[in-house]
Amino acid sequence: MNHATQHLGPTVVHAAGYLWLIPLFPAVGAIINSLLGTRIQRNLGKRWNHAIAIGMMTLSFLTALRAFAQMVALPGDERFLQNTLWNMLTAGQMQFDLAFALDPLSMMMVLIITFIGTLIHVFSVGYMADEPSYWRFFAYLNLFVFAMLLLVMGDNFAVMFFGWEGVGLASYLLISFWYTDIEKAQAGMKAFVVNRFGDFGFILGLFLLFWSLGGIWEPRADARSVTYVPEIGYKADPAAQNPFESTGPRAVVVDGHAVKVGPTLNFRELRDQVVIEATGVGEHLRHQKLWGVALLTLVGMLMFVGAMGKSAQLPLYVWLPDAMAGPTPVSALIHAATMVTAGVYMVARLSYIYAMSPTAMGWVATIGVLTAFFAATIGFFQYDIKKVLAYSTVSQLGIMFIGVGVGAYWAGTYHLLTHAFFKATLFLGSGSVILGCHHEQDMRKMGGLKKLMPVTAWTYLVATWAIAGFPWASGFFSKDEILWKAFTQRGMELFGVPAPWLGPAIFVIGILAATGTSFYMFRSYYMTFTGHYRGGAGHDEEHGEDPHSAHAAPHHAPAAAHAPAAAHGHDDHAAHGHAAPAAAHGVHAAPAHATHAAPAHDDHGHHGGPPHESPRSITWVLATLAFGAVAVSFLGIPLLWTGHAPILEHWLAPALPAEVTFLHFGHATEWLFQGMGVAAATIGWFFAMKLFKDGQSRVPHDLKHRFFGFWTVVYNKYYVDEAYHALVIRPSLFLAAFLSWFDQHVIDWLVNFAGWLARVFAAIDDAIDKYVVDGAVNGVGGLTREGGRVLRRIETGRIQTYLYGAAFGSLLVVLLNFLFR
């Protein structure tokens, strides 16, 4: 494994004072729509809501193009635009600004986000036409884009993290957009909390990296609490010792350029000091150990935990399928094209860190391939069309992580790009279908839609083709490149153990996953579009054996109390359903329907009507995206075919400074492997066609009954949700309940104890007066009686009790006098 290379110099920064506009526009849109949205919708009509949102998106897209133009004009290794707004925080060694930066990588992301984002906004116009709180939807969408742009454009970890959590927020809001359905609400909550798990890891990884950089520790008297003492070269410089002025990174001069060295959150400073060997930071980091583990390994693995959350990798993927509760455009934009790829982006962004730790690479790649395969298998048996796409997304993300894991950073990123297009197409296609079938999501109730919805069908087919990985559709190039690189990668380690076999193993599983992908995607295509229409039955029985009612109960996170609520969850959902056809008939924004929607849903059973093609605003978007899904393939035509590196690889090179070596094989081998890729796709397609074309074959039914046990397990997603419920949620709830009991009955008892104690003392004191003194009196009385019968019987009254007390007291005082000295 070789490291950052000498020839790389420090980043050359080109100021671009307008970058902040790119995230600003969506932000403005969000603010306007969230503050004034209701009034606009009421007084001006919905068209203004989406006009604002889409307008802002377009502006931001145009600004992005402007930046792109500026960047293209620059020489290859100087493509870095930067724009600082203000200093956000300066404390001790930490110091970061609200600043944006664009390098080729983030440029690509920004273009994807703004472009596809805009399209999906347009799509939503038709899709959400009769949503009562239309304004809210667009506000959220804009908010999401804003956060996503922060994520990719952040000049430092802080801003990136702002976006990182911001998209989490937006996705929470959008998933539980139809909050009246408690299940949807819980899906949103689940997504956010699961992501928090990831962020927990991410934050720790970040701290570890930050502090291991300059290794500047506060000198403390009790050194034992400092677990990791840095190398000499990285002791704080005197300035850092003195807490007076906060110490940013200190500068080391490398061939003329000052390179900052020391703890930093800034990507550029981080990259420079790590990548440029003259600083020695890379060496330093590579030799650090914490708890006997290589520090960078910990950093890489912990940060990847963050990626697991965001990008739905094992074992934190569980939230993504539920996230399908959100409106379909949301699924397309957030849960396919952009947000979920944040993890991939993060790994690519830190390529030079990961490249230095084989174990981290192995970890990423392994998780990736396992996820890819695992999710693909679940995809086989799902009936809910969006669920199928959700699991396919999970699996595709796995593939991307294989790419960035094995060191084919550009390939991973490329797959991100292609996936953005075809998965967006697929989701929007499914959205169009769902709309056409009156919010029916169960593929068993579809079929034969090809004739009814030609555009949708064709675009869906193209995208399926792409994802399955047939040549000339983009998926082929990216996936193929990734798997090939995985095969040729032999330097990875598994938990510190060198594992040259890991690469090939990953390739094998990856190919299987690819086959699976091709299979279930074509399955979904055939079930949906071929054969004759099976729908129109209405929703009633849908929920009888509906897949997600099977695991509905478990993931009401803590909400045991809500089981009943969950049951009615649907009427409302249906209400939305019934608004839809109106939209379909192109009657745009007829508020009347919205209001009638709820009553209408009683007789929805018959009101269904045949499916129908979606309005133009939708079909155009589908077409554009489908075209893109094919077009982007030109960015990645491999070296093997053309003789020079793919355009995208060339473009991204400056942003991915890490260099990873791969084994070299002859052209023949490479052709062979490409062939294998095609073969995998073909096999998958073949079986899918045999089994599901036109819904004729009985085989799937028989197979299902032959292996019913296995089927149920897979169908219920291996009961992972139930496992989580039993292992994580219940225990923590129990702990919470216990602690709160403890708090009220034990801790709180202490204070009452104090009060009680006081009262007890009082009682004792009373008792002393009543019994002890009296008792003493009687005792003495007794003595005297015994002593001298000559004396009359003794009687005492209370005053005399007092006197006894006084007398004895005085006696004690006298003794006391002798007690002291």
Partner: protein, 102 residues
Amino acid sequence: MIPTLSHYLAVAAILFALGLFTVLTRRNAVAVLMGVELMLNAANVNLVAFNKFMVGGLAGQTFALFVIVLAAAEAAVGLAIVLSIFHTFKTIDVRAADLMRE
């Protein structure tokens, strides 16, 4: 034999003890007051004795005179109060006066 200081002191101590004992044990309020008188006189004996044997001068004697006077006054007040007790409680048993307890 010639009584020495210690004899007087002993007598005084006994008087005092008797007085205290009376006060502590008798239930008749008047008797109790008489016990107090005994205690006072014990002090008188001391005063006079000390004056005679040790200090000299007149201070002790005078003191004793004052004590006697005050003792009389105190007895007067005391008896008045006993009288009022008798009126309100219809008895002069000190033990009866225990309306107020802890």
